[in-house]
C-alpha cells in the first residue's frame, strides 16, 4: 500500500509553479476536496498548497510517490488529443529531481524539447553535457540509418529491415545508457527511461508484440535491476480501428502502476478547457480486492504551465 504522502518536497508536482503569474485563474473555490471523488482518501493526498500571500499553486498528483520509488511503469495515454505536455512535464520533473534520464525522443527534434524544457525550467543541453540526460533523437538517427549503410548495429536498425524488426538494438542502447557506472559520475538518483512515443514504433513497421517485448525487457532491466522508472506515451485511437495499437495499449495498461489518460471533452472543443485527465493508480502485481484509485481533472494548457481543476470548475465557467 502506498504510504500516504507526508509533505515531501520531492513529491512530483504536476503544476509547474508560476509565482505571481496567472494563477488567479485557479480561484480559491476551484476544487472542493470534501467531496473527493470515489475514494474517500484523505485530503492531504491531493492538495492545493498555498504559501502565504504568494499566489503560487501546486497540485501534487502523485501522492506519496517520491522520485526514488523503485520500479514503476507509468503509462501516458492520449485519446483524440495531444498528451505531449505530460511527456514534457515528466522530463523536466525527473531532470530537476536529479535522476539519470534516458529519453527516446522519436517524435520531435532535440531543439523542440529543449525549448519547451526551458519554459518549464530545465536545460536539456546542460543536462546532456553533464551526462544526466542520454538523448536519442529519432529523427536525426533515422536519417543516418536510412541514407548511410552502417555495419554495426544501430538503435533504430529496424528502419532498415524489410520484415517487422525487433527492438533489441534499441534495448541494448537503453541498457547501456542507464546502467550504473561506478565511481565516475556524481551519484544520480534512480534511472528513468522516457519514451515518446511507442505508437510511432508501430507506424514504423515494428509489430505490437515486439514493442511489448521491448517494454518488458526495459522493465526487467530498468525497473527491477536498476531500480528505476519507466514512462511511456501511447496514443489511443479510440475507435478500435487500429488493432495493433489496441493490443499494445491493453498490454501496457495491465502492466502499469499509474495510468494518466488525457482525453478531449465529450462535448467538443472548448477554448478554456482543453481536455480531461484521468489518473488511475494500479497495483499490477497484487490481486486487486479493492478498487483501484482514480481521479479525474480537467485542464487547460498555457504557455508555461498547465492548470488543473475539478470537472466543471473551470475558472472560465465559474
Amino acid at each position: 500500500m502506498d504510504s500516504a504522502g507526508s509533505v515531501v518536497s520531492v513529491a512530483p508536482q504536476l503544476l509547474i509553479q508560476s509565482a505571481g503569474s496567472r494563477s488567479s485563474e485557479c480561484s480559491r473555490n476551484s476544487i472542493t476536496f470534501s467531496t473527493s471523488p470515489l475514494t474517500g482518501r484523505s485530503r492531504q493526498d491531493v492538495a492545493w498548497s498555498r504559501r502565504g500571500q504568494s499566489r503560487e499553486r501546486s497540485c501534487r498528483l502523485h501522492p506519496g510517490r517520491r522520485a526514488h520509488d523503485p520500479g514503476k511503469l507509468t503509462l501516458l495515454c492520449d485519446a483524440k488529443t495531444d498528451g505531449s505536455f505530460l511527456v514534457h512535464h515528466f522530463l523536466s520533473f525527473y531532470l530537476r529531481a536529479n535522476c539519470k534520464v534516458c529519453f527516446l525522443a522519436l517524435v520531435q527534434s532535440f531543439s523542440h524539447y529543449n525549448i519547451v524544457g526551458q519554459k518549464l525550467g530545465v536545460s536539456l543541453t546542460v543536462a546532456r553535457e553533464r551526462g544526466q540526460l542520454v538523448f536519442l533523437e529519432g529523427l536525426k538517427s533515422s536519417m543516418d540509418v536510412f541514407f548511410q549503410a552502417h555495419k554495426e548495429p544501430h538503435p533504430l536498425q529496424f528502419l532498415r529491415e524489410v520484415n517487422a524488426g525487433n527492438l533489441q538494438p534499441l534495448f541494448e542502447f537503453v541498457r547501456e545508457a542507464l546502467k550504473p557506472v561506478d565511481n565516475r559520475e556524481p551519484a544520480w538518483r534512480c534511472p528513468v527511461l522516457l519514451v515518446d512515443d511507442l505508437s510511432l514504433l508501430l507506424s514504423l513497421g515494428v509489430g505490437a508484440v515486439a514493442v511489448l517485448d521491448f517494454v518488458h525487457y526495459c522493465r526487467a532491466t530498468v525497473c527491477c535491476e536498476f531500480k528505476g522508472n519507466v514512462v511511456a506515451l501511447v496514443h489511443d485511437s479510440g475507435d478500435g480501428e487500429d488493432e495493433e495499437n489496441d493490443i499494445l495499449l491493453n498490454g501496457l495498461s495491465h502492466q502499469s502502476h499509474l495510468i494518466l489518460r488525457t482525453e478531449g471533452l465529450s462535448t467538443g472543443f472548448c477554448r478554456d478547457v482543453h481536455g480531461q485527465l484521468k489518473i488511475l493508480w494500479r497495483r499490477p502485481s497484487q490481486p486487486t480486492a479493492q478498487r483501484d484509485r482514480s481521479l479525474i481533472y480537467q485542464y487547460k494548457i498555457q504557455d508555461k504551465n498547465v492548470s488543473f481543476f475539478a470537472k466543471g470548475m473551470s475558472p472560465a465557467v465559474l
Partner: protein, 392 residues
Amino acid sequence: MAAEATCGAGAGSTGSLAAAVGMSNVTSFQRRGPRVGGADSGGPRLMSIAGTRPSVRNGQLLVSTGLPALDQLLGGGLAVGTVLLIEEDKYNTYSPLLFKYFLAEGIINGHTVLVASAKEDPAVILQELPAPLLDDSRKQELDEDIYNHKTPESNSKMKIAWRYQLLPKMEAGPVSSSRFGHYYDASKRIPQELIEASKWHGFFLPEKISSTLKEEPGSLTPGYIKLLQFIQNIIYEEGFDGSNPQKKQKNILRIGIQSLGSPLWGDDIFCTENCDNSHSLTKFLYILRGLLRTSLSVCIITMPTHLTQNKAVIARVTNLSDTVVGLESFIGSERETNPLYKDYHGLIHIRQIPRLNNLICDESDVKDLAFKLKRKLFTIEVRDFYVSYIKG
C-alpha cells in the same frame, strides 16, 4: 533569460529564427542566426528571407501557404520545417488548387521549388500555376465580387442570427500590401518569365524509376526511396541544411508532393486491406520529417485519403504530419443541392495544427469552415448557413 541557444551542434530545429527585438517578452526569445556552417554567425543576426515572417507567438519562421485565409487559420502561416498534409477531396477538384497556390507563392517569393508527381510532369504543373493578383487590379476584382451578404448587416446589429456577430470576420480580400501571402487569379496562368527566372526541380516518377535499383534499405516502395534520396540530395547540394560551409543558403525550399500514397506511386496502402508494404508510407513520412526538421524547407503533400476506409492508416499518417487540412467538396453528394450549402463548394476541416517549441498551439476558435471558388478567388469563410437559410 534566454541565452543564445546554440541548439546543439547540428541538431535539427524547425527554423526558429532570430526573433525581432519587439518580441522579447517571452522567455522563448531565441537569438539564433541561420544555421549555416556556424562559422560566421558569431553574433546574433536578424534573418530575413523573402516571403517569411516570424510568428507572433514564439518567433518561429513562417511561410505563407499561398492562401491568406488559410494562413490565418493556421496561426499565421506554415512553420518552416513542417509538413502540410492536404486530404484530397473526392474528385480531386480543389486540392490541386491549394497545391498550386503553394507553389506559386514560392515562385513569387523567389524560393526554390521542388515538385514531385507521379502522374503529371512537373514542368506542366508549373505552367499551370495561377497568376498573382497585382495591387491595382485586385481592387477591381474584389469590388465585383463583393456582393458579400455580410456587409450590409455588419454595421447594423443582427437580430436573428445574433451569435454570428461574435465570430471573427474572415478576410475575403487583401487587407494590406504585405509581401507575405499573395492573392492569385485562378483563371490566369502565371507569366512564363517568372517560371524561367525561378529555380525549380522536378521529380517525375516514371522518369526516375526506370533505372535499375541497387539494394535498398528498408521496406519502402522504390518510388519513395528515390524521392527521399532526391530530396536529400537537393537539400545537401544547395545548402538548405547548413552543412555545406561554402553554400550559404538563405532561401526556403518548397517541396510539393502530389497524390502521395496513390497507386501511381507504387503503393497500395489505400487500395488493399492488408497490403504487404503497409508501413512504406509512414516510414516515408517519418524520414521526410527528419529531413525537413534539419533544413530550411517546407513541404505540402496531397493525399487521397478518401480512397480508404481504414481509419488506422489515416490516424497514423495524421500523427506523422504536422498540419493536416481536409477538403470535402460537395460535388456528387447530396449537399450539392441542399439549400443550406448553396453558397459554397465544400467544407474545409483543419484537422491538426502542430505544437512546435511550445505547449500550446494557435488553434482557431472557428471550426465550421466552408470554401468556395469564386470566379477568380478561392475563399474560406465561416459557414453561416443560418443566414443563408433565412434569406432563402
